[in-house]
């Protein structure tokens, strides 16, 4: 809410800088968006009087004006406004002035005629179209005739006021009124507010009840509904003081009746609606839910198609307003209105909120209804509004208020224990201190015992209902700065990461150590991408009911697709070497209400793992480089089971000849390989290698602990063997065979060469291994090794049809 400092000063003896007040409000009540004056950034803008106004000889619309700006002689200003005329007091930006948008005014010549400044419209001195009165839309603004020539215009237009723009949380609806602000400020500055209410004087014998009737069938929609009638009004502009109050609060002045309703809305937080009595088709008011498909034209001219959840005010069952949101076009107060029906109500906050949201019709009124209305001031506001209309627009107020429903203003008794207060806040407040705080808040209370207090929270603070709400009142008025600062004292607490959390963290660190940078991609993606690259494919991902963008409609079932988006993003920006991993959730619908959330670990590498340097060049990533990382990672994680890489052609997004399923003891835990060139093309990425692992499986599988074995003191003996085999014989088969027949002393099998090419027969390849033998208990003899080695060679000849070279 835009709160006027000068308005507050009417009711409070404030002796603080407005900025300090704003700071105090932020520390004690509600957040502050901004503190400003309409005159900020403006200078040398004064009152002028147009003495003479002649047409410019070389223009069909410009005028040459002689303007008295309080100096010895009038100054000449060329002005293009159609409404400029002699005898008017105007806003003059002098030579050297600064007006809206930081524009500087300089003297100069306009079509050959000297001009020493500029006559301004309100918009030109910073008023937004939203608040500038419509009357002056087509020209410059006229100041009151008693304005002093040469004076700064700011005080005449209220632009010297400071506006404190508060950001009111949903619970503090009471702070959406000057009344609420005055009460809160009085409490934290220990001030006595002198809030002025204007009493109504009914001078007419005519009964309101003879003019309007109301029957509120559903008091849930309108817990309070009241009407008054003012007859014989004359619609005109409001006095300037009232217009200033409104535009400083961000509301555009319209006419004396509408302006009064808005003024009361600001003062009490009570929205009012004024109807042109004579334009109403009948005068029996009601409220009801709209009929599905019912049409209604709001006063902004828009045709609204209503739903059953909407709520309307009716006469004779015909909608005349969207309750709490916006009035209707045909029944609004206009220049010809003479009789006004004035409505003060409380509409259901949820219904108004839904309606305003659905129709995108958020207004000063709907905002207040949504956060609740003070039931104690509905009638006060209605009476004061009627009286003000009478004072400003003439007419008579008919006798009595017509009430359709009325929610009682209930003050709530809440029991408070001093011990509990101090227990919750960590303070050592005395009963006197607590009572003092409630005195300041003007809450009644009575002390029940040394420790017990019954506090009466007034209806104007409808946010307060339980003791915890009072703790907050005590804390904020006492001052959060005055709270001590401690740490919880307690025993028996052993914090720490769980083994699962440690495993996941170690996984991340391990991959980073091997050159992959952590990415965090979006979990929400397209259906197509959500379904790709699944370890064990499921059909459909979980989909959002009402997505925001077509790129984010389903939860991912793999992590690779997100990483490929990241690769594409980098490649498109000429970053050629991308090595990323991501650890996160995939969401697997398995028939339950919610999908199974699995932790996965995936990586994607394109280009080179290490950039070219002067001494190391052109080492593009390949399958084996990434496999090395995965193998090392799984080794480091202490997987106890047998890890195998099994070729697969079954993954549609993967290269059929360069992809392996990763298994632990024959359980599928992930896969690795090259992205299928077709898929890569769709992602607009170059050759890219990826892997994805199901961390849940890795977490569950047995682990080996680090353990110590003595290093053999005896020398090892090596034998090299080169095998010529068919090209489709796998290394894994050979290594397995070697180990099977290797004997007790075979310590290590190391592949040191793979060759296929022109020196070999077609369809053959050569693999060369070093076998290392060692005995922990003695020195091996040549004979022992030869015998073991021979067994291997014989077996290989037989098993894989190897030719020993």
């Amino acid at each position: 809410m835009k709160v006027s400092y000068q308005w507050l000063q009417e009711y409070l003896d404030l002796d603080v800088d407005p900025r300090d007040l704003a700071e105090k409000i932020a520390r004690t009540s509600v957040d502050i968006n901004d503190v400003y004056s309409l005159s900020d950034g403006l200078k040398k803008i004064v009152v002028g009087e147009v003495i003479e106004c002649k047409n410019h000889p070389d223009s069909d619309h410009l005028h040459i004006c002689q303007v008295d700006v309080g100096e010895e002689a009038p100054i000449q200003i060329v002005c293009g406004a159609p409404n400029v005329q002699a005898g008017k007091k105007v806003i003059v930006a002098l030579h050297g002035a600064r007006i809206a948008d930081n524009q500087k005014i300089k003297r100069g010549k306009i079509r050959g005629v000297e001009s020493n400044g500029m006559l301004c419209a309100l918009q030109e001195i910073g008023f937004s179209d939203k608040i500038a009165p419509k009357d002056y839309e087509e020209g410059i603004y006229f100041l009151p005739n008693d304005s002093q020539n040469g004076d700064s215009v700011f005080k005449y237009l209220g632009m010297d006021d400071t506006i404190i723009d508060t950001d009111v949380t949903p619970n503090r609806g009471d702070m959406l009124s000057i009344y609420g602000n005055v009460n809160d400020i009085a409490a934290f500055y220990r001030l006595k507010p002198h809030f002025k209410e204007l009493a109504v004087k009914e001078e007419s014998a005519e009964k309101t009840a003879d003019l309007v009737q109301t029957d509120i069938e559903d008091s849930q929609i309108a817990p309070t509904y009241k009407l008054r009638v003012i007859k014989g009004v004359q619609i005109a502009d409001s006095p300037l003081w009232l217009q200033i109050r409104l535009w400083n609060s961000g509301i555009r002045p319209v006419n004396n009746v509408v302006d009064v309703t808005n003024y009361i809305l600001l003062k009490y937080g009570q929205p009012l609606h004024s109807y042109d009595y004579d334009q109403l088709p009948a005068h029996n008011f009601g409220v009801r839910h709209a009929n599905e498909g019912e049409e209604f034209v709001t006063l902004d001219g828009d045709e609204q198609k209503l739903k059953e959840t909407d709520i309307v005010v009716t006469v004779n069952d015909q909608p005349v307003a969207l309750a709490g949101t916006m009035g209707g076009q045909g029944t609004a107060v206009n220049d010809n209105t003479t009789t006004v029906a004035l409505e003060a109500a409380i509409f259901d906050s949820v219904m108004v909120r839904k309606q305003a949201r659905r129709l995108d019709l958020h207004s000063e009124s709907s905002m207040r209804f949504e956060r609740g209305i003070n039931p104690a001031t509905v009638e006060t506001a209605l009476n004061e509004a009627a009286e003000m209309i009478k004072e400003l627009a003439g007419g008579t107020i008919t006798a009595g208020i017509v009430t359709g429903s009325e929610a009682p203003a209930v003050d709530k008794s809440i029991k408070l224990s001093l011990t509990k207060v101090n227990h919750v806040l960590g303070t050592k407040l005395t009963m006197d201190q607590v009572e003092d705080i409630f005195d300041r808040l003007a809450f009644d209370y009575h002390q029940d015992s040394d420790d017990q207090l019954t506090v009466i929270a007034p209806a104007r603070r409808w946010d307060i209902s339980i003791a915890a709400d009072l703790y907050e009142e005590i804390a904020r008025i006492y001052g959060y700065d005055n709270l001590p600062s401690t740490l919880p004292t307690m025993t028996r607490n052993r914090g720490g990461l769980t083994p699962r959390q440690r495993f996941i963290r170690a996984s991340r660190h391990d991959l980073e150590g091997m050159g992959l940078t952590q990415a965090i991609s979006y979990s929400l993606t397209t259906v197509e991408k959500a379904k790709q690259f699944q370890i064990t494919p499921l059909n459909e991902p979980m989909k959002l009911d009402f997505p925001m963008s077509s790129d984010h409609v389903a939860t991912r079932m793999n992590i690779i697709s997100g990483l490929l988006n990241d690769v594409a993003y980098n490649v498109a920006r000429n970053v050629e070497n991308v090595a990323l991993y991501e650890q996160g959730r995939v969401f697997l619908p398995k028939g339950d209400e919610r999908p199974e959330e699995q932790e996965h670990l995936a990586g994607a590498v394109t280009g080179q793992l290490v950039a070219n340097s002067w001494n190391k060049k052109d080492q593009p990533v390949d399958f084996f480089q990434l496999k090395g990382i995965v193998e090392r990672y799984m080794h480091n994680m202490g997987i106890a089971g047998q890890i195998s890489f099994v070729p697969t052609t079954a993954r549609p997004e993967m290269h059929p000849g360069r992809t392996a399923d990763i298994k632990i003891d024959n359980e599928l835990v992930g896969f690795i390989g090259q992205v299928h060139p077709q898929t890569a093309k769709e992602y607009k990425i170059p050759e890219t290698y990826v892997f994805e692992l199901n961390l849940e499986a890795l977490l569950a599988t047995p682990k080996i602990e680090n353990e110590y074995t003595a290093i053999s003191k005896y020398p090892s003996i090596t034998r090299d063997i080169a095998l010529l085999v068919d090209a489709d014989v796998e290394n894994a088969t050979i290594v397995k065979a070697i180990k099977q027949k290797g004997g007790a002393f075979l310590k290590e099998v190391h592949l040191f060469d793979v060759y296929a090419g022109s020196h070999l027969p077609v369809g053959k390849k050569s693999l060369a291994y070093t076998l290392t033998y060692q005995d922990n208990n003695g020195t091996l003899t040549e004979e022992q090794v030869n015998s073991a080695f021979d067994k291997v060679t014989t077996f290989l000849k037989d098993k894989v049809d190897a030719e020993i070279r």
């Binding site: 957040d31 906050s349 700065d481 965090i520 979980m542 919610r594």
Partner: protein, 348 residues
């Protein structure tokens, strides 16, 4: 010419040869020639038989002296030549040490992860447990059990991705408050937990909004937990993340699941409170929301609010990272430009 003179001549000749030799091979030849069994000194010494008894030891002594001198000269020369050879070899091996070192593959943790880990480590050190929740949540845990009934205005503050009428993408990590309160055995002591994770809001992505971001929820519930404890805890977090000199201030705020509710500001780490563009000239930066757990939340999770109470807080690692490093666009965190990610590689 006497033996003495002969020996002196041999010595002079030998020393001269040694001096003039230019490589180890030549030095070795001299050594063999001069000092070997068939060398001139040996043959001179053979003539000693003809000397008198008192001459013999004197010449013998002199001969030994000559031999020692020559041996020493040879050794000196040899060392000299070896040193020169080594120097030449090393000179030939000289490299340009200003050439860059060979690059090493090294990845980095994501900047958001770094902040999360830092916060998690801090709380773990203070005895908190880490509880990680599901990202697809039941509506009751995301809202109802946090004192946000249907049609509560605060739900408008959090536009939600619904999956069905009862399942949604969690909008906050707070559901873990309710889940942990239900699970915790208070007879074993107070609940102290922290819960980091991803959350989702139905928002259009732009520089300051992201439909996916992170939160870290914290909660302590026990028999003697005060708002002063909350203040002290938040101060510890702020100082550990942003620096020791920073102060924390609390301002009233509103969250349905805490009462009283506060926002916590810290002294602007950029200007230390003097006022600058980052803190919009207030000297303070809003970093997190917190409060005392609402009695309704405790009740709904089966915890007696008369006996137990505590505080909860939530902070945004994305916002922390943006503040700490001046990142001006939240989308940077999720686009994973490696040039962006690799900026946060300082570990010292």
């Amino acid at each position: 010419m006497g033996l003495r003179e002969k020996l002196a001549d041999l010595r002079d000749q030998g020393l001269q040869d040694i001096r003039q030799s230019e490589d180890l091979k030549r030095v070795n030849e001299i050594r063999v020639k001069m000092l070997g069994k068939k060398g001139p000194i040996t043959s001179v010494l053979r003539g000693m038989r003809e000397l008198s008894a008192e001459e013999r030891p004197k010449v013998g002594q002199f001969a030994n002296k000559v031999r020692d001198e020559l041996t020493a000269a040879i050794e000196t020369k040899r060392a000299e030549l070896e040193q020169a050879a080594m120097n030449a070899k090393l000179a030939a091996q000289t490299i340009d040490v200003t050439l860059p070192g060979t690059p090493v593959a090294q990845g980095e943790p994501h900047v958001i992860q770094q902040i999360i880990d830092q916060v998690v480590d801090l709380f773990v050190s203070m005895g908190y447990e880490v509880a990680v929740g599901d990202e697809v949540e039941q509506e009751v845990y995301n809202f109802e059990k946090l004192n946000l009934p249907k049609d509560h205005p605060a739900r408008d503050m959090q536009d939600t991705f619904y999956v069905t009428s009862s399942v949604l993408m969690r909008t906050q990590t707070s559901p873990m408050q309710a889940r942990m309160l239900e699970k915790h055995d208070f007879s074993q002591g107070p609940l102290k937990m922290i819960s980091p994770g991803k959350v989702y809001r139905r928002d259009t992505d732009d520089a300051t909004h992201s439909h996916q971001f992170h939160q870290i929820e914290g909660m302590v519930v026990g028999k003697n937990i005060t708002m002063a404890d909350l203040k002290g805890t938040l101060e510890t977090v702020a100082q550990s993340l942003f620096g020791d000199k920073l102060k924390v201030r609390l301002r009233p705020s509103y969250f349905p699941f805490t009462e009283p509710s506060v926002e916590a500001d810290i002294t602007c780490f950029n200007c230390l409170g003097k006022g600058c563009a980052i803190c919009k000239h207030t000297g303070w930066i809003e970093v997190l929301g917190a409060g005392m757990v609402h009695p309704n939340v405790l009740k709904m999770s089966g915890v007696d609010p008369e006996e137990y109470g505590g505080f909860a807080f939530g902070l945004g690692p994305d916002r922390f990272a943006m503040l700490k490093y001046g990142v001006d666009d939240i989308r940077n965190f999720y686009l994973n430009d490696v040039r962006f990610l690799n900026q946060f590689d300082q570990k010292g």
